[in-house]
Subunit: 450 residues, 2 copies
């Protein structure tokens, strides 16, 4: 593999130019901006590698599917997306969002981290491999969608419609970064699920003068009383039966926590807090962060929220909640539990509406793609990776890989201050080049391991 | 008094024209619109009655103070305001807000109910009285401020600065209407107080990705836990010591409830509810409505409240609350109780900010102005009035009359669908003319009673 690594180093300028080209092309799915041009660029680039691409239409934006080779024993799939977040607020950018600009070893552009840099690290690895060996030791599949930033709304359709395109021995998922100290590479072997709901309560048919509060029900109070039965001050979730299906962390899971870096002091200072919930620290903190479900209030609104004092009895109150689910839990079942919990306590007047549901997923840690990734990371970066047995966040990996159990890992080229979804999105050029090397090595090791 | 009543009937067109003139002149304190012109109109009108007026400057808009006669044994004061609410939303008006328009026996205009109609009912009563008898049986004082709609911010200053102008034997306060069936006249002998606060809680220094919810405190949850200790599902206020100073209703107070009309079915249908809090009805319902304090959530906001699912851990949450206080309670002491209650439960991270405080007030029910008003109402309207021993709402009457204990009553010319503070504000012309007669009779009876 030394030759491949050397080739990547010698051609890094070419690979950086390709990244700049991709980042110069807007592809904002939420604003239908530049999508068709981006699709063409993705196809042209993959075609240039010798990949056999297809444009799979959906009701939204197409999925670009591609295959390279079909005569090898094993297949490796790269999942990525070609769409990016809107660049707004524009006034907060130091550079033009779609004019990739290199400053002090970093390249700034919308989408450079999420996830054009990651996508091209896969593309360039394949390119370098081919340039040296003429062919790859595994079959390669590319699944590149254009709706990740708007909820991957047609990815399930793809999974169901094209079982033969789905078939693979392992997936390298998008995303992944270095930790807050730009220390070891983070490798993610799964994600929490997400159950996003709205609780809604209607009182009188219109807002009333608050003198009526003595006799007319206030839907905000109804929500507050209901919510106060769902989690207590110890941050323990008190929804009936909520933890019943949670699979407790195994010894092996706890061992992974030792391989996971979490710089408490730096995070507290960055976030502006004095302590974590329940004053947790060390392993207990990491265990709660990664292995415990959450019950978060993402938004709450009722009545008058402007300046000063308006004496109003609100007619309507709603609350947005996101519950991150861990292994064993199910998004739809969670909604059922909440409905039953509320009904049992007389809160039948509170409507529960599910806005989004994704199940948690953990890949088989003994699979070839996991072993290949962990070893490659140590070789390329010169230190052991920081392992998330599952990440605290959520991606479509769960719904995509869960039903078939395809092993999947996520690693990438961004860092803790990449400003993903925010102004001044950036990556280090060094991380990009290392990401290409990393991917090349993973391909090699994956082809060897059982 | 028959002659005075007859004079009023014969000159009703003239009095209606005066009302139209007043309502044609905008006087929006919140928008500093037309105030100086209105001040001049008020002074000219009072001067025309022979009232000796003074323009008392404040840091805001002037108070027009006037005296008529000073040689009588007793003095009666009329409190009113010349400012009105903004007319917005304009598109909801069926007529021009400052073009008074008569449709089906009602006159529509901003301020016609609140409170130019009431003010002129006092003015025209004095006029008719003078026209018949040449002079009045009591000294009359007019206190007419221009900041009622923005919180009567300089009324306390007036009270403290001009004790000789304050001196009187009784006040007829602004406001007052017929009930929802346009049945008996409502006469109000006091008001609840108001303690308006904001609870504020700061978490992280900026909104975070909600994956952090497992370890970083959510200020919305802090507020919800705190609020859930302040009132229970039976609508009982559980702030420590909150009820300690409440003076329980006396037998006499309970008797007044029999004289207070509350059409439950009509109110439920108008408001769009199936039942009142705790399924209360009858005397229990009326008792809670008028004699119990409230703890209302007027507004609550945190995090993301737009469309769809945004997974955010909010950094800040706040809640607006208004607590209506009953006899014995004090607005500032209530804030202290809340602070102590929260501290005792560890909610030292929640800030309590008082935005407004008005104490409750009940006038001496045996005073001359009360007796005169109750009797006059029965004579003019042909049925016993509906008596609020104290109203469920709040006016400045408490802070204004409380410190000196001046007896005060409130009755007026609006009705339950007058749309006060809303588009299409209106009164019945019949109610306006009756209001003039009522005021004239009150002046007469007040001069007789001890």
């Amino acid at each position: 593999m030394e030759k491949v690594i050397k080739y990547i180093e010698e051609h890094q300028q070419e690979y950086i130019e390709l990244l700049k080209k991709f980042c110069s092309q807007p592809s904002v799915s939420a604003q239908n901006w530049g999508i068709q041009e981006m699709v063409q660029l993705v196809r042209d680039t993959l075609d240039g590698l010798g990949v056999n691409t297809e444009r799979l239409e959906t009701d939204g934006y197409p999925i670009i599917y591609g295959e390279l080779g079909n005569n090898k024993k094993k297949t490796l799939t790269f999942y990525n997306h070609y769409d990016v977040q809107p660049p707004e607020p524009l006034e907060k950018w130091k550079t033009e969002p779609f004019t990739p600009t290199i400053i002090d070893g970093r390249i700034y552009a919308r989408g450079v981290a999420d996830n054009k840099g990651s996508f091209l690290s896969r593309v360039c690895a394949v390119d370098a491999y081919k340039k040296i060996y003429g062919e790859l030791p595994v079959n390669i599949k590319f699944i590149t969608e254009g709706e990740e930033e708007v909820g991957s709304v047609h990815l399930d359709e793809f999974r169901i419609k094209y079982p033969e395109k789905l078939a693979t021995n392992g997936i390298v998922w998008e995303g992944g970064s270095k930790d807050i100290n730009r220390g070891p590479l983070q490798i993610t072997l799964g994600y929490k699920g997400l159950c996003y709901i709205e609780l809604r309560c209607q009182g009188a048919k219109k807002d009333l003068h608050s003198m009526n509060a003595a006799v007319v029900i206030n839907p905000a109070w109804r929500l507050i009383w209901a919510l106060s039965t769902m989690k207590n001050e110890k941050d323990f979730i008190t929804i009936d039966n909520f933890y019943d299906d949670v699979i407790r962390p195994t010894k092996e899971d706890m061992h992974y926590l030792d391989c996971f870096n979490y710089d408490e002091e730096r995070i507290k200072s960055s976030v502006g807090i004095n302590s974590f919930i329940n004053n947790l620290e060390g392993t207990e903190l990491k265990e709660k962060y990664l292995y415990q479900p959450t019950c978060n209030i993402a938004g709450f609104e009722t009545g008058y929220t402007g300046e000063g004092a308006k004496t109003v009895l609100p007619s309507y109150a709603f609350c947005k909640m996101d519950l991150r689910l861990v292994e064993g839990q199910d998004a739809e079942e969670t909604v059922d539990l909440i409905r039953k919990h509320l009904d049992k306590r007389g809160f039948t007047d509170i409507e529960v509406v599910m806005l989004s549901g994704k199940n948690p997923y953990r890949t088989d840690a003994s699979s070839a793609i996991v072993k290949a990734s962990l070893e490659s990371a140590e070789e390329i970066y010169g230190m052991k990776p920081s392992i998330y047995r599952n990440a605290a966040g959520t991606t479509a990996m769960g719904t995509f890989c869960g039903p078939t159990g395809i092993p999947a890992v996520s690693f990438g080229i961004d860092h803790a201050e990449s400003n993903i979804h925010a102004p001044n999105e950036n990556i280090y050029l060094e991380d990009y080049i290392n990401g290409i090397k990393m991917t090349a090595l993973v391909i090699n090791k994956f082809s060897i391991y059982e």
